[in-house]
């Protein structure tokens, strides 16, 4: 129907139709020449009247493009007849439901599995460490391991990551070590962030992983701006930004999505729709069919995937990345999943959702277990390797914590560095006076390197 309509317009429109058909064509998934629309110059029309409808009273070339008139008084429905389907590769028992996915070789698949298990192990132990009072805060990605690792595995290392806070696995995949994670959580000298942020606020320049802020969704427009830079520099890379269902209510999400579309930025907007924003269920968050439908509203290609299926996530990101880079366009991915842990160590989710619900998701929808079944089916994984892996991961995480705990804190001067490129005089003065205070009242202060 759509193609037919475009043909019809072409016949009717003459040269003006050419211009407008270009902007139509993006809806038909035709490949755009690089930078085509952005730098096109428009000529003033001389004979407005007839050109604006090409002589056809049934259509009008409004400023946004050609629109067909209808005598029908019909409102668009608020809800689709059927909800957008969710792309999946593996069923609950880890069996492929089709061969419609990007093949991955054994090494990658095994690394994916190992990283999923390591992430799960780290989350469990760090969470306990917080409960024991050894670190002040933690946030897990339990239930979202496939999203973390599946997406990370489909990206290139040059792709920049603009994370929320539940994507530690992406960093793990890229080679941030357990010691690096532990150092950040303990805010010690080994922390890239110099102990300034709460635990789980990682960042690593080396790994193209922009430092996390607690503020929800602020990173989305950043990812778009950075993607635009990649495009201008002609780089074979894209950016990806992660955010939650709650994050899509912010102004920054809408600004980011719209900017991405208008700037034709090679960015993957990855929504982890895990059903909850702290205690707020998605029904209090939005009334659309999730997030995926927002894409079309903004002129952004989008897909919904099963977030507990690592192969589906991998495939969607892999293909999205290709489109983003080769066609210079944003892609929105909505991964459906469930936040199987508490929001963070500050939260007790049994206050607002049934424990049975949590248990059900944990027991039947564990993305790690599903992926393992697939690996076993491939003959790439066995029970002995499982025992060894889990044992190894556990020992490594515990060791990282033990080490991190003994590493000294960053030195006092780091309070004043990095506020600006160099400390201005007010900060120099404040450092001096702080040092005097510390000398006079050492009992008031923890034992830092003064």
């Amino acid at each position: 129907m759509a193609l037919h309509f475009s043909k019809y317009l072409k016949q009717k429109m003459g040269y003006l139709g050419m211009i407008n058909l270009r902007s139509w064509s993006c809806c038909f998934y035709q490949k755009q020449p690089y930078l085509s629309r952005r730098f096109e110059s428009f000529k003033a029309d001389k004979q407005l009247g007839s050109l604006h409808n090409g002589g056809d009273p049934q259509v009008m070339n409004f400023p946004g493009g050609i629109v067909k008139f209808t005598p029908e008084l019909k409102f668009l429905s608020d809800t689709p007849e059927e909800r957008i389907h969710c792309y999946r590769v593996l069923d609950d028992s880890g069996q492929p439901v089709s061969s419609n996915f990007v093949q991955i070789d054994k090494d990658i698949a095994v690394k994916m599995y190992k990283d999923m298990v390591t992430l799960q192990t780290m989350d469990t132990i760090f969470y306990d460490a917080q409960r024991q009072g050894r670190i002040s805060f933690y946030v897990t990605a339990i239930g979202e391991e496939a999203i973390n690792i599946g997406s990370a595995a489909a990206l290139g290392m040059d792709d920049l990551v603009f994370p929320q806070y539940r994507e530690a696995g992406v960093l793990l995949w890229r080679g941030f070590t357990l010691q690096d994670f532990a150092n950040q959580c303990f805010g010690n000298k080994g922390d890239n962030g110099k102990g300034r942020q709460m635990p789980a606020h990682y960042g690593s320049n080396k790994h193209n992983y922009i430092t996390i802020a607690s503020t929800v969704a602020t990173q989305i427009p950043h990812a778009v701006g950075a993607a635009y830079s990649l495009k201008m520099d002609g780089r074979e890379a894209c950016t990806i930004t992660y955010f939650g269902d709650g994050g899509t209510s912010t102004g920054d999400f809408h600004a980011g999505l719209n900017f991405a579309a208008v700037m034709e930025a090679p960015v993957i907007l990855f929504c982890r729709n895990n059903g909850w924003a702290i205690s707020t269920p998605v029904s209090d968050q939005f009334r659309s069919d999730g997030i995926v439908v927002r894409g079309q509203a903004y002129g952004v290609r989008s897909i919904r995937v099963d977030g507990n299926d690592a192969l589906a996530v991998f495939t969607a990101v892999h293909v999205a990345r290709k489109m983003a880079i080769s066609e210079c366009r944003p892609v929105l991915i909505e991964a459906l999943t469930y936040r199987a842990g508490h929001h963070s160590t500050s939260d007790d989710s049994s206050k607002y959702r049934p424990i049975e619900e949590i248990e059900w998701w944990r027991a039947t929808q564990d993305p790690v277990a599903r992926f393992r079944k697939w690996l076993e089916g491939q003959g790439w994984w066995t029970t002995p390797s499982e025992i060894e892996l889990r044992d190894h991961a556990r020992r490594e995480v515990l060791h990282a914590i033990q080490v991190a705990e003994t590493v000294e804190k960053p030195s006092l001067k780091e309070i004043f560095t990095d506020v600006y490129d160099v400390p201005p005089s007010n900060l120099c003065d404040q450092e001096k006076s702080l040092r005097k205070t510390v000398e006079r009242h050492p009992q008031d202060y923890p034992h830092f390197l003064f």
């Binding site: 607690s214 929001h343 309070i415 007010n426 202060y445």
Partner: protein, 446 residues
């Protein structure tokens, strides 16, 4: 991230050298509230909760909403409200601060009491435009045809021991720069209940910052009944004669400790809770400074551009001739709020008491500082400064100010390890030297 306060005690024990006990203080009752017998000791979040119950009960056009408000809020301030008043009056909003405040303005403009919660003051900035350009100007720009006076925005603010950049900030000064809104900060449960009810019922939009450190820690008797405490009235919560201390919110308990410490050394401090930051009660502060001759302001927010600067400037304008010392500000550092460095960042008791002001009243055998008063400074200024600089490490010389036209006062900190100014040398340089052994800055400006 919802930050629970459950663990503060333990954490503070380890990082803060037991500072938690200072925070636990709740301040004294106002006279008029002491009567009823059925007062129960409750904490600050429960006091807020009581106020919200009363607000909803006494006005059917009152609404309470914000992120996670439905289940009671991440700090439990809205517990039980949705059950009691229904989900149409107490509800979760989507995660969007600009939406929350914008929606609240519209609701308030229709004659309702819109009580909006921003989960953390750190997350109020997406709503800044709505507050500054919309709420604050709604009345003025329409020639008083419209107003959103029923708007109250509640937000937990301030340090909490482990909040880092985004769960610790004190952004009050930004809002104090906005004519058209009020900014109110309570210090204790009793104050919180009475002030919040006043804010909700005030015919102007109000931003109400709640000291989250005190949500659980501050416990005091709070009358069960519906009561309101006046806005724009500061309160002298401790009387004294040597110096006036002004603060608000959680900082007051730190300041109170400083007062107690100072008292041991014979320094009598007057402590004022400002409560309403704009429009603020200059008269009470002015009267106090006219009595004591000295002022110290303290807040957690960074010192530069903080509300302390406004107080300082106003009091210098009003009390210049009465001031015996420069106004001191003991505040947060000019840095983002740093997690592991929190104890260093904070305007602590010892910074306040010893280092930044009150110290000078402390009687000591050895003068820790020498005050030099030079006559005819215009003639001698350059010569003297450079001569002093020859004797001392430059950072120990602090020009304290000038008095009228004749004198320059220089405070030389001889307690520093790098230098020592021998008073004889100073005299040789043409200075009148006062030791600080007899209290204060040794005499008045003349």
């Amino acid at each position: 991230m919802g930050c629970s306060l459950r663990r503060i005690g333990r954490l503070m024990g380890s990082i803060g050298g037991g500072r938690c006990c200072f925070r636990g203080l709740s301040t004294t009752c106002t006279e008029e509230l002491k009567s009823p017998n059925d007062n129960k000791p409750i904490n600050l979040f429960s006091a807020i909760n009581q106020a919200l119950h009363i607000a909803l009960e006494t006005d059917t056009r009152a609404y309470v909403f914000g992120e996670d408000v439905g289940f009671g809020g991440v700090f439990r301030c809205t517990t039980g409200l949705a059950d009691r008043f229904g989900k149409r009056r107490v509800f979760n909003t989507p995660l969007c601060e600009q939406g929350i405040v914008g929606f609240a303005i519209g609701l308030a403009a229709m004659g309702n009491r819109a009580i909006a919660e921003i989960q953390f003051a750190d997350y109020i900035f997406p709503a800044f435009d709505q507050i500054v350009n919309e709420a604050a100007k709604f009345r003025y720009r329409s020639g008083n045809q419209f107003n959103c006076g029923g708007l109250t925005i509640r937000a937990p603010y301030g340090a909490v021991g482990h909040g880092g950049h985004y769960h610790s900030q004190s952004p009050e000064a930004f809002f104090c720069h906005v004519p058209g809104i009020k900014v109110v900060i309570p210090r204790s449960p009793q104050q919180a209940k009475g002030l919040l009810l006043s804010c909700i019922r005030d015919p102007n939009p109000v931003v109400f910052f709640e000291p989250k450190w005190l949500y659980r820690l501050a416990v005091e008797e709070v009358p069960d009944e519906d009561y309101m405490l006046p806005l724009s009235e500061a309160e002298v919560i401790r009387e004294g004669s040597d110096i006036t201390l002004v603060g608000w919110g959680a900082q007051l308990s730190i300041m109170q400790q400083a007062c107690v410490e100072a008292e041991k050394d014979g320094v009598s401090c007057e402590l004022i809770d400002l409560k309403t930051l704009i429009p603020w009660d200059k008269e009470t502060v002015e009267a106090s400074v006219n009595k004591t001759g000295r002022l110290l302001v303290s807040h957690e927010a960074p010192i530069t551009g903080g509300f302390g600067a406004e107080i300082s400037a106003s009091i210098v304008e009003r009390c210049f001739l009465r001031l015996e010392a420069p106004v001191a500000r003991v505040c947060g550092l000019d840095t983002p709020f740093p997690l592991v460095f929190e104890p260093f960042y904070m305007p602590t008791k010892n910074k306040e008491y010893i280092d930044e002001g009150i110290y000078l009243w402390k009687k000591e055998e050895e003068p820790a500082s020498v005050l030099i008063v030079m006559s005819h400074f215009t003639l001698h200024l350059e010569v003297t400064i450079s001569a002093l600089a020859g004797q001392l490490a430059p950072d120990t010389i602090k020009v304290m100010g000038t008095s009228g036209k004749q004198q320059l006062t220089i405070l030389v900190d001889t307690g520093s390890t790098h230098s020592f100014l021998d008073p004889t040398t100073a005299k040789k340089l043409g200075c009148v030297v006062h030791h600080n052994t007899n209290g204060g800055y040794c005499g008045r400006w003349t």
